[in-house]
Chain length 346, copies 2
């Protein structure tokens, strides 16, 4: 099948550090190529792929320090516009820019699957309900919940090349937070937990300019020898931190559509404790790979049981449910349905 | 002809206060309806028009205090997406959102004229050069200068219902700046001029959050009884200020694509002194309706001659060259060419 993958331009594919969407697009693209598809990846020029790379700019927009890397930067509009201009060269377009791309996807004559990587909100739901040309893939069941009336192609959980993550049966005692320091990620709750229990906590996380005020007010004054912020880390360092952490904390306070760091932590053998928001219960098997809790008190309680979690079971769960192969099976089935090849997926 | 006009959602059409694009779209739309065309205006729900109004939101985005009113707000994407979804209902789409809309305009099957209201830059020029589906209208000759290679439909100077502007042969001695307080508008140069000459200056201008720092550092400390900031004013107050000003100062420092306040000031009989940037020389007839100058010194020199300018000549120039009728003639000729009706415009 001739497949276009349209990644965001914000980060390289795969990202050097932070960048969940680009990480997933990379995994999917490589697996599709491996399966014999003819894949064109529209992404930043420094991307690394075995697909054909089409690019309007040599670097990822965040690295190039352009403003508005998630919005309507001219380069993003050009990137998107050129991908759709080439629509006749593809059997299917898989778009990872929604909702930004819904107006143009709506006029496309080649079938479009658009994965919604962010949350549906009261603000964007009308866009999905009214511009129905693209077939929308959701990344969890819970993500779909508030939006019954979209042109839904199916739910495909994110997957990553889980086998390549390093496993450790032993931990070094610290708690770990990985991701982005922002109020909606609830990072200050992780600090509350660590302070109450006097446990070590490592924050491996970037801070965006829009989150500086939060960082300065709620995080920075509480950093210490026990609560350390190590900034944004690369993949190797993140994996090492995950494989040696006693538990991974994810006190997210918004309706998280998925939780990519959770499956990565589990693949490394690290139990996960997360707030019960959005897709979290679809990812964690409570009592087996960690705990789904309601609040800071629940997180503190869960930590008293954390050593009963079998680290090998965490990895097994990640490999079984969140592999790149399983995700690719899911998208291949959608592609085949849309290009008229029936639903009999191999 | 069945014509879609797609206005920005930032301001009402016509705008209550600031909003050049919305002002022009309103004037054009009303004149097209008057000439018997079937016009659908895509704009905020509080817009006032004799065309058919299509709207995704009851208020202008700035009034609703949403973030990112000029970018990819979900409502803007829905507004744009729905207008293009309805493309088959129109003979021609006249789009005022470019470059934001170029990706979707590029896939449209109904002919699209997109007026570029902003400046072409090294950042957006590739978008215009590569996504060539829309026919681009420029608003001045100079605007086109850096971009030889776009799909150019023609240049149409902005026009407004000039006859309805109040004329005054007498002035009250003050200098006037109208528009937006921002560094690229060079407002501090107007303050320099007023201070050197110890003349009164009135600033009737809005301040956007992104310009607060500039306002606080370069404008606010210099305000006084002689240099007054009266905030953003409505149309009636702006017209009164223009008709009674001794001269209108426009010390713009970027390549201004047009200069709508200049034609409004001239229509009120007010001479205009502006920096020689972009379209300015196409608007001012030096020595007759004001002066095109190079810098603050030039502006100071020009003011020594300002009483030799005939205020009636300013108005006559505006009425002859920048009427809504002349602008509408220009766009009608483009529409007719694109829908195959030939170039014989009435």
């Amino acid at each position: 099948m001739k497949i276009a993958q349209i990644a965001p331009l914000a980060e390289r594919v795969p990202p050097k550090k932070y960048g969940g969407t680009e990480r997933v697009v990379s995994a999917l693209t490589e697996e599709l190529v491996k399966r014999g598809h003819e894949v064109t990846l529209f992404a930043s020029g420094d991307s690394q792929t075995s697909a054909k790379l089409e690019s309007v700019y040599p670097r990822a927009l965040r690295e190039a320090k352009v403003k508005d890397i998630y919005g309507t930067h001219d380069l993003t509009m050009l990137h998107m516009g050129l991908a759709y201009e080439l629509q006749d060269e593809f059997d299917i377009i898989h778009d990872h820019l929604a909702p930004l791309s819904l107006p143009v996807a709506n006029l496309a004559t080649t079938p479009v699957v658009a994965t919604m990587h962010g949350p549906f909100t009261s603000e964007n739901r009308k866009l999905f309900e009214m511009l129905r040309g693209a077939h929308i893939a959701t990344v969890s069941q819970s993500q779909l919940y508030p939006l019954p009336n979209i042109n839904h192609a199916g739910t495909v959980h994110h997957g990553l090349p889980m086998k390549s993550y390093p496993f450790s049966a032993e931990h070094e005692g610290y708690l770990l937070y990985v991701g982005r320091i922002s109020i909606e990620k609830g990072v200050h709750y992780a600090l509350d937990v660590a302070q109450v229990l006097d446990m070590r906590l490592i924050l491996a996380a970037k801070v965006e300019p829009s989150d500086y005020a939060y960082f300065r007010e709620y995080i920075e004054p509480r950093l210490s020898d026990r609560i350390r912020w190590v900034g944004e880390v690369d993949e190797a360092e993140r994996n090492r931190l995950m494989s040696k952490a006693r538990a991974f904390l994810h006190p997210v306070v918004f309706r998280e559509p998925f939780g990519l760091t959770l499956i990565e932590a589990m693949a490394c053998g690290c139990p996960v404790i997360a707030f019960n928001r959005g897709a979290i219960p679809e990812i964690i098997k409570t009592g087996v790979t960690g705990y789904v809790v309601e609040d800071v008190e629940g997180m503190i309680d869960a930590l008293s049981n954390i050593d009963s979690i079998d680290r090998a079971a965490c990895r097994a769960h990640a490999l079984e449910h969140f592999s790149v192969e399983k995700m690719t099976d899911g998208y291949e089935a959608i592609y085949k349905k849309l290009v008229g090849g029936g639903e009999d997926v191999t």
